[in-house]
């Protein structure tokens, strides 16, 4: 007999890239996006970049508080989120400003948030984008829960099979980091989503660092994508600075989810080019060399090269994007700063805590109002 045999893993577990460093492309995998969409992706990536650069200055000037820049991860975010429909759900962590901008979140709201006003967390009535979640990894259970309700309703409506799976359900996409993979909540949510084949796309932005902890200090696992094996879930590991790759991977995962075939773990291998947050000093723990290396793989540059090579856009297009983006950022800052003045009524702290506040909390509110 064969008393000792290897355990076969019967799951798709793949690594992939589409663009190389020179902006050349693998034709088999090129998603063939149309020019308008590519331009829009380039625009939002640049917007996120410029917005962060501006915010870093505002923070230095003390005009806003600390925040987590997205710089370097624009392709991981825009490539993935752009695979969603508007009616799909987004469950972010705290670094997803490029996702937020893609989905149409107001930049001046974001600035209000950065300036410490709860009002900045405003979400449009029909929006399916959850608010920022700061406790690392704790948002993944929410994504699973939303996915559960989608699947349940799908089953109840007779769409799909008895597991609620079938064509055309909404999809949930959730974002988290390399560090988050160590958290228990992430494990529990991945396991639950796979168990019930929920329509969730798990986007792990492996930006190499969790504050000062490198991935190698986080786990002995050779890749993060292989963590999917623990849940019987397919895993994809893609070049996260290659927006075509992140888009292809996400589109595949979204299609799988929509078709009722369950969740996918997508690892985007990328890099946090800036500080963790403005409270952080990376020079203490990482080499400038490493940052320089990654600069060569800048996701915005690579998309630009691709578009130029393919004659999809030229320098004047990019200049035009650049100037419209600058204007947008400037307008948002102006707008936000005007709003700073109006806000800050201290009694606002009592807003939205309860649907119906208890009498003694109302009394506390009146006390604060009295003090002014």
């Amino acid at each position: 007999g064969m008393p000792r045999t290897d355990i076969e893993i019967d799951l798709r577990l793949e690594e992939m890239h589409v663009l190389d460093e020179n902006g050349d492309v693998d034709d088999d995998l090129d998603p063939g996006l149309d020019r308008d969409e590519l331009i829009e992706m380039a625009r939002v990536m640049l917007l996120a970049r410029r917005f962060d650069e501006r915010r870093l200055k505002l923070q230095q000037q003390g005009r806003i508080g600390t925040f987590a820049p997205v710089i370097g991860q624009e392709a991981s975010q825009v490539g993935t989120v752009s695979a969603l429909a508007d009616s799909d759900w987004v469950v972010p962590s705290y670094r997803e400003s490029a996702v937020a901008l893609w989905r149409g979140t107001s930049m001046s709201d974001l600035l209000l948030y950065d300036a410490g006003f709860n009002e900045g967390a405003h979400i449009e009535a029909e929006s399916r984008d959850l608010p920022i979640a700061i406790p690392v990894g704790t948002q993944l259970p929410h994504a699973a829960g939303i996915g559960y309700v989608i699947a349940m309703r799908h089953a109840a409506n007779g769409n799909g099979d008895e597991n609620g799976n079938g064509d055309g359900s909404d999809v949930v996409m959730t974002f988290f980091g390399d560090g988050a993979t160590s958290e228990g909540d992430v494990h529990e949510a991945l396991n639950l989503a796979a168990l019930r084949s929920l329509p969730v796309v798990f986007v792990c932005q492996n930006n190499q660092w969790a504050i000062s902890t490198p991935v190698a200090g986080q786990t002995a696992s050779a890749t993060l994508a292989q963590k999917a094996v623990a849940y019987g879930m397919p895993g994809l590991r893609v070049d996260g600075n290659d927006i075509l790759a992140t888009r292809v991977a996400a589109a595949e995962a979204v299609a799988r989810a929509r078709a009722g075939d369950g969740p996918t773990f997508v690892e985007c291998v990328t890099y946090r080019m800036a500080v963790h947050t403005t409270a952080d000093d990376p020079s203490v723990y990482r080499d400038e060399d490493e940052v320089e290396q990654w600069k060569r793989r800048d996701p915005i540059d690579r998309l630009r090269t691709y578009m130029s090579n393919r004659d999809l856009a030229g320098d004047d297009d990019f200049e035009q994007i650049e100037s419209s983006v600058s204007e947008q950022v400037a307008d948002a800052v102006e707008q936000a700063e005007a709003r700073f003045e109006e806000l800050g009524d201290p009694a606002g702290m009592f807003d939205h805590v309860w649907a119906e506040p208890p009498p003694y909390v109302e009394a506390q509110r009146r006390e604060v109002e009295r003090r002014g």
């Binding site: 759900w89 469950v91 709860n118 009002e119 967390a121 405003h122 979400i123 449009e124 009535a125 929006s127 959850l130 608010p131 920022i132 979640a133 406790p135 704790t138 993944l140 259970p141 929410h142 994504a143 699973a144 829960g145 939303i146 996915g147 559960y148 309700v149 989608i150 699947a151 349940m152 089953a155 109840a156 609620g164 228990g184 909540d185 529990e188 949510a189 396991n191 639950l192 168990l195 019930r196 807003d351 939205h352 805590v353 309860w354 649907a355 119906e356 208890p358 009498p359 003694y360 909390v361």
Partner: protein
């Protein structure tokens, strides 16, 4: 009481198909205390979800379900294991309405068997309600019998905000009570007077209500008339009834099974001192669990407030010269 809870769940699931029951062993098994018996068979594996053994995602997925428009009622198998999911309550369930500026809300219920008295193992006899009561945005309910359990659970499921629903397991099967044919929906914002008297105010909740009432009955023979208040909802605290009563009686004893120090009685005392100070005629007595881990079951009754301890505290408080 367990039947009243099951009835209430059944009524809610029948009336509103967004109600989802989930938790460990709540499905096929019907729950380790049989609170969800029959629901899986009737409503199927989506409405009644036998979850993996993972408290954080039971609570956390419930948060997501509620955001997506469902009304999840999750069960944590014992309140002593709720701490594994507590961060989801503190960091999210209680905050999502606030954090999203009202865009999303979290109408969910977390049910948990709670308290000592059933000869169970370690961690199966906990009563740390104060941990939930201290969190803004959470409502913490502890019913004291079948009828109130059914009505309060119905209200909890309808509540627009998250409710922690602690079920004193020692009264799951300890006494019977008629419940009306028609569904009742309780009020999550009010305490209830369960006995009238002018000599002393007694405040209790959950399994301690009955013990307190029994002590009050006994003392009535000696001419001590107790005003007994069943808090029902621990937080937000309905101070009005307690304050009114204490202003009248001038004497108060609070009975709870939780540890004494930094326990729930402190808040009640603080409110009384703030609002009934000039009417108080004696120190407020606390009859509580001790400041030790709930002992294994051979000693659990010695840990819990019993008739003797309650009566002794009442007498001492009433006899204190003012």
């Amino acid at each position: 009481m367990i039947e009243a809870i099951r009835l209430s769940l059944h009524e809610a699931m029948t009336e509103d198909d967004s109600v989802v029951v989930l938790g460990e062993d709540v499905g096929v098994d019907g729950g380790v205390f049989r609170a969800t018996e029959g629901l899986h068979e009737e409503f199927g594996p989506w409405r009644v979800f036998d979850s993996p053994l993972a408290e954080a995602v039971i609570v956390g997925a419930s948060v997501g379900m509620a955001i997506a428009g469902a009304r999840p009622v999750c069960e944590l198998q014992f309140s002593g294991f709720s701490y594994l999911g507590f961060h989801q309550l503190e960091e999210h369930a209680a905050r999502i309405r606030w954090r999203s500026r009202g865009r999303f809300s979290v109408p969910m219920v977390v049910r948990m068997p709670y308290g000592a008295g059933v000869r169970a193992l370690e961690h199966h006899s906990e009563s740390k309600e104060v941990i939930f009561a201290h969190v803004p945005g959470l409502t913490t309910v502890i019913p004291s019998g079948p009828r109130s359990a059914r009505a309060l659970l119905a209200a909890a499921i309808r509540s627009p905000d998250p409710v922690v629903f602690l079920e004193p397991k020692s009264i799951y099967r300890s006494f019977r009570e008629e419940v009306p044919d028609e569904p009742e929906v309780g009020d999550l914002r009010s305490a209830r007077r369960v006995r009238e008297g002018d000599d002393i105010t007694l405040v209790a909740w959950g399994a301690m209500v009955r013990r307190t009432q029994e002590a009050a009955d006994e003392l009535a023979d000696d001419g001590i008339e107790c005003d007994v208040i069943d808090l029902r909802t621990v937080s937000p605290l309905d101070e009005s009834l307690i304050v009114e009563s204490a202003q009248r009686t001038g004497r108060v004893a609070i009975v709870h099974e939780a540890h004494r120090s930094f326990g729930p009685a402190g808040e009640i005392i603080a409110r009384l001192v703030e609002q009934a100070f000039w009417q108080l005629e004696a120190p407020i007595a606390r009859v509580t669990g001790y400041d030790v881990h709930v002992p294994y079951f051979a000693r659990e009754q010695a840990y819990l407030p019993d008739g003797d301890r309650i009566a002794e505290a009442i007498r001492a408080t009433v006899e204190e010269p003012s």
